[in-house]
């Protein structure tokens, strides 16, 4: 089955933060202008129609960047985006636009992503109006309905973004993305700002939409319980690379990558009572100074000599499971031969 959406070998770099002195010195020393950071390395990712792919990973590892590339907001430096197996960049303009409309992103920072001078009713209804998706309703009614769906009072449609609380703004962002009836939704921390009851409401909405309309999700989140609840598969990212991809239940039951394990171990538990937290052990990796070999090795309890030198590749490790760790084959999990879908 062709995936609905696929990223192939996507790389993304940014300019390095530098001060003027450093820049001048670099120039005088005749260094080439390649002072850039790579935040996304040769990443492949595929999402099947109707699937919810959870994306978790360390803060700053490039999840949002990946999400933006997927949503077509950042042009990747290398690599391709495929939609229904076709290269988006090679599509005729009209089709490209339609595809782009079908891929929506809910931004991590709802405040910044809302135009401060537009009333939220407009913000939500505008695109639908423009693309003729109002289905007979007036734009105001349409926006009101969406507001209701995300648990907001439709009377608030008249307000400006700054008049809302953080969670309310997050919901406006969700409503805006849903308004254009996307087929693929990139949710970047979309429910993090919501209290659990509203969060539940929104998650239910997401699940409904998936059932009714086959909506597909790339669900970026730090909240592992939400990911666990919602996602079919989970991709784990570390410093610009996918380090593990696995069906959700399996991943949570038996994480393959040491980072995944560290993540699952750090989840605070409601019933544990007051806990004494421990500082992180090992150095946190930075894209500005990426460690040699496996990026996780400075923090990895199992790091070996090879980890310091060699970058492990993302390999199939079991049916439908992939991991990038030198340890994994040694863990005794036999690579399966009949893996049906690419990561």
């Amino acid at each position: 089955m062709t995936p609905l959406f696929e990223l192939q070998g996507v790389t993304k770099t940014f300019a390095r933060p530098e001060d003027a002195v450093a820049r001048l010195r670099a120039r005088l020393a005749g260094q080439p202008a390649a002072r850039r950071v790579t935040v996304l390395h040769e990443t492949d990712l595929a999402v099947a129609p109707g699937e919810v792919l959870g994306l978790v990973g360390e803060s700053g590892c490039g999840k949002s960047t990946l999400g933006r590339v997927a949503a077509g907001l950042h042009a990747p430096d290398t690599g391709r985006r495929l939609w229904d197996g076709a290269d988006v960049a090679a599509m005729p303009p009209a089709q490209e636009r339609a595809t782009a409309l079908g891929i929506q992103m809910i931004f991590q920072d709802p405040h910044a992503s809302l135009n401060p001078r537009r009333r939220v009713g407009d913000a939500i209804g505008e695109a639908a109006g423009v693309h003729g998706l109002l289905e007979g309703a007036s734009q105001a009614d349409f926006a009101a309905e969406l507001l209701r769906q995300v648990g907001l009072d439709p009377a608030m449609a008249d307000r400006f973004p700054h008049q809302f609380s953080g969670g309310q703004r997050a919901r406006i962002g969700i409503a805006r993305a849903l308004a254009v009836q996307p087929r693929f939704l990139v949710c970047d921390e979309s429910v993090a700002a919501l209290d659990v009851s509203v969060q539940a409401q929104v998650l239910n909405l997401f699940m409904d939409l998936r059932e009714r309309k086959g909506l597909t999700y790339l669900f970026i989140s730090h909240d592992l319980s939400v990911v666990h609840h919602l996602a079919d598969r989970v991709a784990v990212m570390y410093l610009g690379r996918l380090v593990e991809v696995a069906p959700t239940a399996e991943l949570f039951r038996e994480p393959a990558h040491p980072y995944t394990r560290a993540l699952l171990d750090s989840v605070p538990r409601l019933d544990a009572g007051n806990t004494v937290f421990q500082p992180l052990k090992g150095e946190i990796a930075s894209p500005l100074a990426p460690p040699s070999g496996c990026a996780f090795h400075p923090r990895c309890p199992h790091a070996m000599a090879v980890c310091r030198e060699q970058q492990p590749a993302l390999q199939p490790v079991a049916a439908g499971r992939f991991a990038a760790c030198h340890l994994v084959p040694a863990c005794g999990t036999v690579p399966s031969t009949d893996s049906q879908s690419a990561p």
Partner: protein, 278 residues
């Protein structure tokens, strides 16, 4: 524990908007002892952030603290002259805001924004302030701190910005620390690091925390007491274990029921009967 660090009594913060008044905070009372951690949870839009702003004296117009008193270290903050309030802010009490992208000045380097927080309250050299900033960044788990000091906010990920904001608040070792959803953008390992730092802060300096969050598990792990807000009012407050184990108010109960891990995976989550927004 003689006198509480912070004593909030009947605090009401209202916004006059066209066609009515939004009672964002409506008669909130609680007190916070020294070294105590208070978890503030509640519905989205229930007034948690505004409570924090009210304490800091930073409510945006047209919002106004219309009633109540806020006593901090024995001093009444409502009506305090702005210069005295300024001297307290960022020094004796600090707050981190909910939206990390918008809270950092987009045109100033991280280092500048951190150093000035030091310089505003202490007579030290700029180099020394930057050094402290560097250290604070490392405490919140930001690698390559030196280079990050030279970054601009837009060059950081959401979680990094959030950590920068936390680091700024930590700089002057405040006595009262109001954190508005400080770890939402952080993965659990980094969150652990932050929580570790917070615990250290309370332990070592006797600082008190107001921890606004939606993550009940974090509250359970960190806080001694909890306040549950709904529509501008505190509907339930008490000892964390008690409240979370045996919630009394129906809203709190509904909240607990909605937690995904308490629901069968992949099924519809339990929600509360519509609580219309304020």
């Amino acid at each position: 524990m003689s006198e509480p660090l912070l004593e909030v009594q009947g605090l009401s913060t209202h916004f006059d908007v066209r066609g009515g008044t939004v009672r964002a905070v409506d008669g909130v009372s609680f007190s916070l002892g020294r070294g105590e951690v208070l978890g503030l949870v509640g519905e989205s839009g229930s007034g948690k952030s505004q409570t924090g702003y009210s304490i800091m004296g930073l409510v945006d117009p047209p919002g106004k603290v219309v009633a109540g008193s806020i006593r901090f270290e024995g001093r009444e903050l409502v009506g305090l002259p702005s210069e005295q309030l300024r001297a307290l802010r960022g020094n004796r009490m600090a707050m981190i805001f909910q939206d990390p992208m918008m809270t950092l000045n987009p045109v100033l380097r991280i280092g500048t924004q951190m150093a000035e927080a030091v310089l505003a309250h202490r007579k030290v050299g700029r180099a020394r302030a930057l050094e402290e900033a560097h250290h604070a960044l490392e405490r919140v788990g930001i690698p390559s701190a030196g280079e990050r000091l030279r970054s601009y906010p837009h060059q950081l990920s959401g979680g990094m910005r959030q950590r920068v904001v936390i680091a700024i608040a930590l700089l002057n070792s405040p006595k009262l620390f109001i954190a508005d959803e400080p770890t939402t953008a952080l993965d659990v390992t980094i969150q652990g690091q932050i929580l570790y730092e917070m615990q250290k802060l309370t332990r070592e300096t006797g600082a008190s925390l107001i921890w606004i969050t939606h993550d009940l598990a974090v509250v359970a792990a960190l806080a001694q007491r909890i306040c549950v807000m709904h529509k501008g009012k505190i509907v339930e407050q008490g000892d964390v274990d008690q409240v979370l184990r045996a919630p009394v108010h129906p809203y709190t109960r509904g909240l607990m029921d909605s937690i995904p891990s308490r629901n069968p995976r992949g099924q519809r989550l339990r929600t509360m009967p519509a609580f219309e927004a304020p």
